[in-house]
Symmetry: C2
Subunit: 254 residues, 2 copies
């Protein structure tokens, strides 16, 4: 199953979610591939993989310069592989603009990997440009991390409209896996209010699990590890393990 983590709003926890959900699914004995599809390369550096210009990464597979299997690397967790990205990927957006089926390149690329992995998780950039479009079209389902604050809430309807458009224009499933409340600071009334509003409006589309603000989640990437290897007892690690179970349950009942 291919899951894209998407939200055009910046800093809402897309990468932190892609990284830690992937790791949590891997320790739950699922075979997982984490695909970094953001030129910022944050999901890659969360595992200590820094792709400089020219080093094997998703860009080369996208442009047909390397086979996709030559760009995938194992992580320090059994069951978890990574397809890294680096700044080369910025070039992809420019080069693809004139390509035929420019929205479909990632989908065709990942097609051959579907049987190798139970879950393929794609991290996308904070925009609704061509890269994100590829990530949306390639997915069976979309997970939307939502920071429990005002601007993120404002951008949500736009994102959901975009999912509708992608479904109708490109015949991509683009099914909403769920909205995940992130960076929840329960001590603030603002977070309480946003969570309550989102839940009342979107009901079961919202994951029961919420990800609290927890500094261990921000520290982990500087140690080149997912949080469950850095601080397993932390609230952040526990929340993502909980999310993985809820996610597995939801996909099973689909």
């Amino acid at each position: 199953m291919i899951l894209t983590v998407a939200n055009q709003k910046g800093g809402v926890g897309k990468t932190t979610t892609a990284v830690n959900l992937a790791a949590s699914l891997a320790v739950a004995e699922r075979k997982v591939l984490l695909v970094d599809f953001d030129p910022q390369g944050n999901a890659s550096s969360a595992f200590g993989l820094n792709r400089q210009f020219g080093e094997p990464q998703i860009y080369h597979a996208l442009m047909g310069e390397l086979s996709i299997k030559d760009t995938i690397v194992e992580s320090m967790l059994p069951n978890l592989d990574i397809l890294p990205a680096g700044q080369d990927l910025i070039g992809a957006e420019m080069e693809l603009v004139h390509a035929p089926s420019r929205h479909d390149r990632l989908r065709s690329l990942l097609g051959v990997l579907r049987d190798d992995y139970q879950f393929i998780i794609i991290d996308s950039p904070p925009s609704l440009g061509l890269l994100t479009l590829n990530a949306l079209v390639a997915a069976d389902e979309i997970l939307v991390p939502l920071q429990a604050e005002f601007y993120a809430m404002e951008g949500l309807s736009h994102l959901l409209n975009t999912l509708d458009q992608v479904r109708s224009t490109f015949h991509a499933p683009c099914k909403l896996s769920g909205i995940l409340l992130t960076l929840v600071d329960r001590r603030t009334r603002l977070a309480e209010q946003v969570c309550a509003d989102i839940r009342s409006y979107f009901g079961d589309s919202v994951f029961t699990t919420e990800i609290p603000r927890n500094v261990r989640l921000a520290e982990a990437p500087s140690h080149a590890k997912p949080v469950l290897l850095y601080a397993i007892k932390s609230r952040g690690a526990q929340a993502y393990l909980e999310l993985a179970s809820e996610f597995i349950e939801r996909s099973a009942s689909d």
Copy 2:
């Protein structure tokens, strides 16, 4: 003087800084124009300006459909005008790709306004695409908000390289006004470490003022006000007032 607030990393406080620095300069009796150059339209909604498709906004001025003066509106603060943005602006990136001098459209547009305002502050999107390029080329100086966490620090060198490239390729001043440490949670060692590292590496390029994490800053836009009208005594409001004085002092001594 034209100042662009830029950082391709998402959620580091670009909009919050553009909005509250602009407001603080206005109450310090400077005539200011805040230019929203992000299709998310967050800087606009911080003042209650929600531009739907077709409503007068920067896109129309950029495409020559309206004169720029017909898109500017007064804010609730004397001395502060706003040039709003909405989702129409997404179209600009596609349409400009094939235009001659596509990197220069914003600069030529704002040229006529230089004498009307002491400061023109431009909010830009979390990317290094064509919109951000226009915002960088249009500026005399660049202010870089930097969230005191790992991923933001990683992206900084890439941004600074981009500023060098813009300077040499497009002959734009692109002078670094300064790096502003934002969302600083002094209780965490992570924030302490990042602030210390950034200061030791960049010295005087870093503003003395730091913006603490303060929920009033996140609440203010939901009341359609800059924080100094919403919660003047808050640490967030005081920090941006302090930043405005430091900024005025620095520009004076240039």
